[in-house]
């Protein structure tokens, strides 16, 4: 990749980096909301550690996106001065935290995906991205281990924890489909050999998630894409800026100070 000399290439690369960066920024933000409110002190620290990893990844990736874009936008410009419809994160990560089971199930679903994705991307020919992915791979391996262990404990703990975990998985399932779909952006980058082939991620994810859910004695929901069951359809469109209403509120809070004083340095 010759760092985006070609206009179209540059655009798809920026697009891809925003997807990566926004996922991590928004999930990191959500996890940071737990700090001071977790079920046990040790978990305040664990969730904050994971949030810090994700925010660190987000910061590096958005910085790179700004560089590639070449319009003098910093990572902060991208985080604080874009509208909800310009964010490319998954709806999965913008959902409110819910209870601890919901937070853990979402973290598990995302970390499984993140770990597979980083593993592929660390072999990317685009070295800066490969470096970020290599770090992300190590970090997400721990996120995965942590969330998996809690999946097992909540699934197999008490009746109440089992019920909550099953509910969380049922609720979250419709958000997982679009995570595994890659479109023309990724295809184009693969064609240009900027990133390796991502096509095995979906099936690997399904296998890995199913294995843990089964061990946690949680029933795996059906893919509801064409089921026609009202209110349970798989969501789509996040990667193009279509979101749930929650994102706007999250951004209103996150961006308030930076936007109120756009010329100030902090």
């Amino acid at each position: 990749m010759k760092n985006g000399s070609d206009h179209g290439t540059k655009n798809v690369l920026v697009e891809f980096l925003l997807r990566l960066g926004d996922d991590r920024l928004i999930l990191g933000h959500r996890l940071s909301e737990w700090c001071g409110h977790a079920p046990i002190l040790e978990e305040d620290i664990a969730l904050a550690n994971i949030a810090l990893d994700l925010l660190g990844q987000a910061s590096a990736i958005l910085h790179l996106a700004g560089d590639v874009e070449g319009k003098n936008r910093t990572e902060d410009d991208l985080a604080y001065f874009r509208e909800a419809t310009q964010f490319k994160n998954l709806q999965l990560v913008e959902q409110p935290n819910g209870d601890f089971a919901f937070t853990i199930a979402r973290l598990f679903f995302f970390s499984t995906f993140n770990n597979l994705l980083c593993d592929v991307l660390q072999k990317s020919s685009y070295e800066t991205l490969a470096g970020i992915a290599a770090k992300g791979f190590k970090e997400s391996s721990y996120h995965l281990r942590h969330s998996k262990e809690w999946m097992l404990r909540l699934g197999g703990g008490t009746e109440e924890s089992h019920r909550r975990m099953q509910n969380a998985v049922n609720e979250l399932w419709r958000f997982t489909g679009e995570m595994l779909v890659f479109d023309e952006v990724e295809t184009e980058l693969q064609r240009l050999n900027t990133i390796p082939d991502l096509s095995t991620i979906a099936s690997q994810w399904s296998g890995a998630a199913a294995a843990v859910l089964t061990e946690a004695t949680i029933i795996i929901p059906f893919r509801q894409k064409d089921s026609g069951q009202a209110g349970n359809h798989a969501v789509s469109g996040s990667r193009h800026g279509f979101h749930s209403e929650y994102l706007g509120h999250l951004l209103a809070e996150m961006q308030i100070l930076a936007r109120s004083y756009p010329d100030a340095k902090w």
């Binding site: 700090c35 079920p39 002190l41 810090l52 910061s59 902060d76 924890s161 100030a264 902090w266």
Partner: protein, 313 residues
């Protein structure tokens, strides 16, 4: 144990203290010493945990990614410090759960400072600068205290807190050199936090019921007033360096004593907040109680899972 044994042990304890030896968990110690330590260490631990709330209030609104990350790391550290301190208290034969329940029931106290609200972003800077600054003065002393586990916990805390004060002061300095609005925010935050920060060291020693005993046992090595003076002497030049006015018209440098003299502290306000009538006492307690209640099923599940695993083995 008969009285003469007890007297011998007490004499030996006193001589160890005056020789500057550290007392370790299994060593003999007077019951009062143990009780005072449990009270003091658990209050310290509760303060770290409740102290996460006012700063945590701004994590989601931090104005840049760098600030967001460092604030989150700082608040996370407070949780860690709470844990170190609970562990130190546990070496004295109490259970962490017991201590947490004392906090949640309102029976145990925590530092009054965390009952004030964080109203603008500059509060985050000023808390790091004043509140952590004051805590470091106190904890540097406690790192030399006579009880081994408490001394070690404070040593670790001091090491880690180095960055807390700096991240706070950096926010203050950046804003003080910024726009008019930013300067106003900093001054407003300084005005609100200065006096409560001075109160953090506790009432004057002749009015502090526990001080004499704690000093005698070298749990404390300096009086509340000495520590407060040290904090003022450190902080005044730091305020001058960024052109911030401390809200005390009586602040004067005394060349003879080489100390900054300061005005009268409103102890009525202090006691009022300690008694539960500060601006945020209710909210802080409610937040801790909610976290504990909402987390009960999680803790229960973790234990239940372990039990099942053990039985299946």
């Amino acid at each position: 144990m008969n009285t003469s044994d007890e007297t011998t042990l007490l004499e030996r304890f006193k001589s160890r203290i005056s020789a500057g030896e550290k007392i370790e968990p299994k060593d003999w110690m007077p019951e009062r010493y143990r009780k005072q330590l449990i009270r003091m260490i658990s209050q310290h631990a509760h303060s770290e945990v409740v102290g996460m709330l006012p700063e945590g209030n701004w994590i989601t609104r931090a104005p840049s990614l760098r600030r967001k990350i460092s604030l989150l790391a700082k608040v996370q550290d407070e949780a860690g410090h709470g844990m170190y301190l609970y562990s130190a208290a546990e070496t004295l034969g109490v259970d962490r759960r017991e201590l947490i329940e004392q906090l949640l029931s309102g029976q145990a106290k925590y530092s009054h400072i965390f009952n004030y609200p964080t109203l603008n972003w500059a509060d985050i800077g000023v808390i790091g600068w004043f509140v952590d600054g004051a805590a470091i003065v106190n904890q540097t002393m406690l790192a030399k205290c006579s009880y081994g586990p408490y001394s070690r916990a404070n040593l670790r805390i001091c090491k880690e807190e180095n960055f807390h004060k700096r991240q706070g002061y950096e926010i203050v300095a950046t804003m003080a050199a910024g726009t008019t609005e930013q300067r106003e925010m900093v001054q407003d935050a300084v005005n609100r936090w200065w006096w409560p920060s001075l109160m953090m060291f506790g009432p004057s020693d002749n009015e502090s019921p526990n001080s004499a005993e704690l000093l005698r046992w070298k749990v404390k090595l300096h009086s509340n007033d000495e520590l407060r003076q040290r904090f003022v002497d450190l902080t005044v030049p730091q305020a001058q360096a960024v052109n911030i006015t401390l809200p005390d018209s009586e602040l004067r440098y005394d060349k003879k004593t080489q100390h900054w003299n300061f005005g009268k502290i409103n102890w009525e306000e202090f006691w009022n907040v300690v008694k539960g009538n500060g601006p945020c006492n209710r909210e802080r307690m409610a937040a801790r109680q909610k976290a504990d209640n909402d987390g009960a099923w999680v803790r229960e599940a973790a234990v239940a899972y372990t039990m099942k695993q053990r039985m299946n083995r």
